[in-house]
Subunit: 145 residues, 2 copies
Amino acid sequence: MDLFLQAAIEQARLGLAEGGIPIGSVIVHKNRIIGRGHNRRVQKGSAILHGEMDAFEDAGRQPASVYRESVLYTTLSPCAMCSGAILLYGIPRIVIGENQTFMGEEALLRSRGVQVEVLQDSHCLELMRAFIAAKPELWNEDIGV
Amino acid sequence: MDLFLQAAIEQARLGLAEGGIPIGSVIVHKNRIIGRGHNRRVQKGSAILHGEMDAFEDAGRQPASVYRESVLYTTLSPCAMCSGAILLYGIPRIVIGENQTFMGEEALLRSRGVQVEVLQDSHCLELMRAFIAAKPELWNEDIGV
């Protein structure tokens, strides 16, 4: 498996072990991970720390030139908020674990020139399938439903 | 002046007094402020705490029904990230202090059914004019330039 997707899945599993929603993300610059994150809605009572946002926060304040050479990996198709962060910082390419559980703003991202790759990875799918079966209300809250 | 815009401007001024970027926001539910925020890039070394995101975080975990009856006030036209959060949570209406300093994703928001009102408020304009004249590099960083 892609080593960076694997690092995103490790983040998702870490979140699950903490009692959280199992979605993880890493930001990669020049083949090195500069930010790791996972959804912290439960852990921090946060409405904004989706996995991707948490990875941006972990990467910290970066110059525009770094974002524009980075790839964002996420276990699940990014929602409007996370897609907006990807657009704000001009991330040119994202790799998505799966989009069967949730279809994010992939069309918007592509229309703005972001290269979007979807792997339909079985580990990512199974993490979300099991989680939603166990805690559907938490999942709905996370996507504003 | 609109009392809620005034509360958003107070947040912007608070951010300025802390050495930060003077953009503020409040989220209003049934005529009551449930979240207040201001940009904390400098104060917290944060890449994601724009004023609107900070207001969402201050409001905390809310049921979908609350977001869908809320109005978001912001001193400056919301960037892609903050607009994405507005879309994620289904905020139906936003009031913007000004969009002359920066034109955010107003067209996208309108295309998704969000009611967008722009006031071109002189206090909001002057806060950003003076700030950008003093610290242009910080402003560019905040909008990913």
